[in-house]
Symmetry: C2
Subunit: 141 residues, 2 copies
DNA sequence: TTATTTATCACAAAAATTTGCAATTACTAT
DNA sequence: ATAGTAATTGCAAATTTTTGTGATAAATAA
């Protein structure tokens, strides 16, 4: 029932999709879960409230949401994690040594994004970029 | 049998892994395939030459190679693609409208990488970054 | 409201990926 | 060379993800 939720209903309809109880519940659940969640965690949360909802519906819905950027995805430590796209774009550095996730402010990608727009006419999705690498600690080992 | 291959054998041993015929054949195959390949394409190529090699071995081996950056992965159009890590780092812009893949030269990430190193002590893997977004053509629609 | 249309759903089946395990084989040290 | 050891493999089973399909229900128009 958040502000996001209102937009979401309207946008779904504009895109020609139907607003079903399943989709609304899944979106509600995602909002309440907050941070990163796996498909299975999402399923379990949804299933607690509506046991009849099938896994296939979770998969199809999350993919639909992701396709239209209602939900963002990132592969962290081999697991695909999903997160609601909110008003605070942020990025992650994932260390492949210790699997630590370091949040990164938005502005670091501004120059790059601007360059891509100007030189390539390409509008990058820069709401949620995940870069992998090695953190300071793990570089020493 | 390429130059890569020599390094690869040595590096595998240094990391404490064994150099098996399976691993060598999979590496050979990846070298010969060149560009992006799905797990299934890799399996089929390997299977043609060595039918006894199981899919599980392909999965385990590709994941091992990816973990140690012998092989790079990128999710393109929902499919995970694998590619040998070669001497020519490059990046991709993937359009989520038309699924077109636009190659991008290495130097665009230099500033960003330097910043991450200096400010966060983080050493990013910038050999093969994939950014998603909308290309010039698809933005008009 | 009610009827019509068609996207979406639950279920089942298929396909893809991961995991457990006994047999094999690469490496190491004798 | 040979023996010892431990990682790796193929196979089978388990798990996860995707897909096909008839029944259901959301949107639209009368």
């Amino acid at each position: 029932m958040s502000h996001n939720q209102q937009n979401f209903v309207q946008q779904l309809r504009e895109l020609g999709y139907r607003v079903t109880p399943q989709r609304q519940l899944i979106m509600d659940t995602l909002c309440e879960m907050g941070g990163h969640a796996t498909i299975n965690q999402i399923y379990e949360n949804v299933h607690d409230r509506a046991p009849a909802i099938d896994r296939a519906t979770i998969y199809r819905t999350i993919h639909l949401f992701n396709e239209h950027q209602f939900v963002l995805s990132a592969v962290i430590n081999g697991q695909t994690m999903y997160e609601i796209a909110d008003a605070h774009p942020h990025h992650h550095l994932v260390c492949r040594g210790c699997q630590r996730v370091i949040p990164l402010a938005d502005h670091h990608f501004h120059d790059l994004a601007q360059h891509l727009r100007e030189e390539h006419g390409f509008a990058p999705d820069i709401n949620h970029i995940t870069l992998h690498g090695l953190c300071a600690t793990c570089q020493e080992n």
